[in-house]
C-alpha cells in the first residue's frame, strides 16, 4: 500500500473547458487525500506525487502499521539481508518505534512440513505462499485462520506442506516467516557468494544460484529464467550440494590400487587405452565439453561408445522423466548416435565374450546397469568420476572428477537449450577439471604434449562439428540465460519427457496445443 498524492487536470464543471493558469497551462486539481498507488488506474493527464510531505508521511504510517506486530528478530532472522520488509523499513520507515504496547505473541517454530518451518510472528499475511501452493505446485494445503491481528498461516487439517516444491514458498516469502529447516541458522545471507549454476537433477535444467562461503556450499536457490524454470526449482534439487562433502568422494588418483600422482594415473590410462578393443561408457551427467572429448577419444581409439540413461516418473513441472542433465549433449556432440536405454546389455554381451579389453567408464556404476562381476573380470577398467562406487572399487585406474559445483561447463536441457554453469567452490586439492584430464589422455594417446586448454578454445573445436546443432557456437556467446538450439535431426528421437512447465515434447505438440497451457505464474 504505497500511498501517493494524485491530481487530475481541471476542467470547468459547466462548460468542460480546461481551466488554465496564468502561464496558459492547465491547472491540476489535487485530491486532498492520498490514494493507494497500486489500486489507482492511470488516466490521461493524471499527475502523481510520490515525494510530497503527505505521501512520505503516509508511507511512514503504513510502514509503522506493518511493523507494529512484527518482532524485532532481525539479529536472529535468516531472512535478514534479503528481507523485503527490512528494505522497505530502511527506505520508507520512520527509523524509530512509537509502539510501547505489548506486541502480539504467536508460535515461533511451527513445522509446516518436512522442510519448512514457520515463524508466525514474522508473517505479514501477504499470502504469496498460499497462492503458490494453489497455482504452481497444485497442492493446496496452506490457508489463513482467525481474523485481524489473530490471523495465522496454517496447513489444512491433516495435511502438511510436503510437496517437492515446498521450499519455493520460503523463497517467495518477503519476510522471514517461512524458513528452510535445512538452512535455518546455518549462515547469514550476506556472507554467501552466489554463483550461477544449473540443476543436475533432471533434464529440466533449472537455473540455480549456488550460495557458498569459503569453499562450502550452504544452499541452492532458483535463478529466474522464464524460458526454463520461471523462478522455481524442486526441493530435491536443492539438496544436491550435499554430495560435494560426501564421505565417498574420490579425492586421490589411483593406479592398480595404490595412490599415485595425476601424471602417473594419466600415463597408466594411456597405456591401457593403447590396446585394441576398447569400449567407452559415457555419462549423461557429463558436460557437453566432456562428452565431446569422449567422442574424440573414441574416434582416436576406435572404441565403441555406450551411454546409459536414467529414467523415472515425470512430475509435469521441473522434474522430468530423464533424470540426467545432459542426455541431449551426448547426442549433439555425436558421442552416441542412438537414444540411450536404461541398461548396458550389448556391452554386457561383449564383455562376456571377452571382446573388450579396456573399458573407460565415466561416472556410472556398471553393476547398477546390469553387468555382472564375472563379465567385468576380463577387461581393464579406467574410472573417471566423482564418487566411490562398486565400479571404481574394481577399477585399475581411478581419475577423480569434479562435481558440477566445482567446474565450469555447459549442459543441454530438454528444450535443447544450451546453458552454462560456473564453478562455485574449489574442488578437492590436486584435482583438475574432468575435461582437462580427458584432454590430456587424448593428447598423450596421439603422442602429443597436452596444450593448456580453456573452455573458449575447446569450444572453437566443438563449433567445427559439421553435422551437429552445436556448429558455429562460441563459448563466449552463450548468454547467461542459455541459448536455444535447433535440434534439427535430433528432434525425432524417442524422448521420454512429458509435457511440463515451459516444455512441450515435440511428438505431442499438437495434442498439447488443444489443451490449456500449464499454469505459469
Amino acid at each position: 500500500m504505497c500511498l501517493v498524492e494524485m491530481g487530475m487536470p481541471m476542467r470547468d464543471s459547466g462548460t468542460g473547458e480546461p481551466v488554465l493558469d496564468a502561464d496558459g497551462n492547465q491547472k491540476i486539481g489535487w485530491i486532498p487525500k492520498p490514494v493507494i498507488g497500486c489500486g489507482t488506474n492511470v488516466a490521461p493527464g493524471m499527475r502523481v506525487n510520490t515525494d510530497s510531505p503527505l505521501a512520505k508521511d503516509s508511507r511512514e504510517g503504513i510502514m509503522e502499521f506493518l511493523l507494529v506486530n512484527h518482532p524485532l528478530d532481525c539479529p536472529i532472522c535468516d531472512q535478514a539481508g534479503e528481507c523485503r520488509l527490512q528494505e522497505f523499513a530502511m527506505d520508507y520507515g520512520r527509523g524509530y518505534s512509537r509502539f510501547v504496547e505489548r506486541k502480539n505473541v504467536k508460535p515461533k517454530r511451527t513445522r509446516l512440513g518436512p522442510r519448512v518451518t514457520l515463524d508466525d510472528e514474522r508473517c505479514i499475511l501477504c499470502s504469496r505462499c498460499i497462492r503458490f501452493c494453489q497455482e504452481v505446485a497444485k497442492d493446496d494445503v496452506l490457508g489463513f485462520v482467525d481474523r485481524g491481528s489473530y490471523s495465522t498461516l496454517t496447513c489444512f487439517p491433516g495435511k502438511e506442506l510436503s510437496n517437492n516444491y515446498s521450499l519455493n514458498t520460503v523463497d517467495i516469502c518477503p519476510v522471514g516467516a517461512l524458513t528452510s529447516s535445512d538452512f535455518r541458522f546455518k549462515m547469514r545471507v550476506w556472507f554467501l557468494k552466489e554463483s550461477p549454476s544449473i540443476c543436475t537433477e533432471s533434464s529440466a535444467g533449472a537455473n540455480t544460484l549456488v550460495a557458498s562461503r569459503e569453499g562450502q556450499i550452504y544452499r541452492i536457490t532458483p535463478r529466474r529464467n522464464d524460458a526454463v524454470n520461471d523462478t522455481w526449482m524442486t526441493d530435491s534439487g536443492r539438496e544436491l550440494f550435499k554430495q560435494v562433502q560426501s564421505e565417498s568422494r574420490l579425492t586421490a588418483h589411483r593406479s592398480d590400487g595404490t595412490e599415485v600422482t595425476l601424471d602417473a594415473a594419466v600415463a597408466r590410462s594411456v597405456e591401457l587405452l593403447s590396446n585394441d578393443e576398447i569400449a567407452i561408457v559415457g555419462s549423461c551427467n557429463s558436460s557437453v565439453e566432456e562428452q565431446y572429448l569422449l567422442r574424440k577419444l573414441a574416434d582416436q581409439t576406435k572404441a565403441e561408445t555406450h551411454l546409459p540413461g536414467h529414467f523415472d516418473d515425470d512430475d509435469g513441472l521441473l522434474l522430468s522423466a530423464d533424470r540426467t542433465p545432459n542426455l541431449r549433449g551426448a547426442l549433439a556432440t555425436g558421442m552416441v548416435k542412438k537414444y540411450p536405454s536404461d541398461n548396458l546389455k550389448p556391452l554386457a554381451l561383449q564383455l562376456g565374450k571377452g571382446e573388450v579389453k579396456t573399458l573407460l567408464v565415466v561416472n556410472e556404476d556398471l553393476f547398477a546397469l546390469g553387468i555382472t562381476k564375472e563379465q567385468i573380470k576380463k577387461a581393464k577398467i579406467i574410472y573417471v568420476g566423482t564418487h566411490e562406487n562398486e565400479t571404481s572399487k574394481l577399477a585399475d585406474v581411478v581419475l577423480p572428477g569434479l562435481t558440477v559445483f566445482e567446474k565450469n561447463g555447459t549442459f543441454i536441457n530438454r528444450n535443447f537449450r544450451l546453458q552454462k554453469f560456473f564453478q562455485a567452490v574449489p574442488g578437492p586439492a590436486g584435482l583438475i577439471p574432468d575435461f582437462l584430464v580427458l584432454n590430456r589422455i587424448a593428447s598423450e594417446l596421439s603422442g602429443e604434449v597436452a596444450e593448456s586448454l580453456g573452455l573458449e578454445s575447446l569450444w572453437k573445436e566443438i563449433g567445427k562439428l559439421r553435422t551437429s546443432c552445436l556448429k558455429g557456437i562460441a563459448y563466449r556467446e552463450i548468454p547467461s540465460d542459455g541459448l536455444a538450439l535447433d535440434p534439427d535431426k535430433l528432434a525425432d528421437l524417442p524422448y521420454v519427457e512429458g509435457p511440463a512447465l515451459n516444455f512441450s515434447p515435440p511428438k505431442v505438440k499438437k495434442a498439447v496445443k488443444a489443451k490449456p497451457k500449464v499454469a505459469k505464474v
Binding site: 536472529i76 505473541v105 546455518k186
Partner: protein
C-alpha cells in the same frame, strides 16, 4: 580582489649565520628540560588510568540475569575489517525452558587477537549489545592458538554488564502474559 604578495625572506644577520646564538638558546632549552618533572610511567607497577570509552580487548558479556546476550547474528564477523571474528551459529533447542524464546546462540565464537585491530566496529554494530571492548589492554601468549579467544574465554573476560533493555526478557513476559494465541 586577490593579490599575490611575495614576502621576501629576511637575510640572516651575521650572528645568525654563525648559528651560535641559536645553538646557545637550544642548549638553554634542553638544560631547562633536564630539571623538569619526568613524565615516565613505571609501567608494570604503575598502571595508566583507563579513560571512558577506551577500546581494549573485545569481550562477550552476559546480562544481569546471566543469559548470554549474543544471538550470533554475525554482524560483527561481517563488519570486522581484519576478519578476526569467526562465529559458528547454533540454535537453542525448543526444550530449553529458560532461553528457547531466543532461538539462536553462538555455538562457537572466536576472536583472533593476532588479527584484531581494536577498532571497535564490532561493539558499534552489535544489535544485542553483547560485545564490548573493555579495559584490558595487555594481552600476551606463547603460541598462536593461545591468542585465539574462544567463547568460554570471551565470556570469562567479559563478565556481566548492566542492561538497559532486557529485550528478550520482555519478550518472554509478553509470551507468558501477553496476547498469546
Amino acid at each position: 580582489m586577490i593579490k599575490t604578495v611575495v614576502i621576501e625572506r629576511k637575510p640572516l644577520s651575521l650572528s645568525e649565520r654563525t648559528y651560535l646564538p641559536q645553538i646557545a638558546s637550544g642548549l638553554k632549552t634542553t638544560l631547562s628540560n633536564l630539571f623538569k618533572k619526568k613524565v615516565t610511567l613505571q609501567y608494570p607497577e604503575q598502571r595508566p588510568s583507563i579513560p571512558r570509552g577506551y577500546r581494549g580487548v573485545p569481550t562477550l558479556v552476559k546480562d544481569p540475569n546471566g543469559r548470554e546476550k549474543c544471538v550470533s547474528c554475525q554482524l560483527c564477523e561481517f563488519v570486522c575489517p581484519s576478519k578476526a571474528i569467526r562465529i559458528t551459529p547454533g540454535d537453542i533447542p525448543e526444550d530449553d525452558e529458560e532461553q528457547s524464546h531466543v532461538e539462536k546462540a553462538p555455538k562457537e565464537f572466536e576472536i583472533d587477537m593476532l588479527r584484531c585491530i581494536y577498532c571497535g566496529y564490532c561493539e558499534e554494530v552489535c544489535p544485542e549489545e553483547a560485545i564490548f571492548l573493555q579495559e584490558d589492554y595487555s594481552l600476551s601468549g606463547y603460541s598462536r592458538e593461545e591468542l585465539v579467544n574462544d567463547k568460554e574465554k570471551l565470556y570469562e573476560m567479559g563478565g556481566t554488564l548492566p542492561d538497559k533493555h532486557f529485550k528478550w526478557d520482555k519478550k518472554k513476559t509478553e509470551e507468558e502474559q501477553g496476547n498469546a494465541h
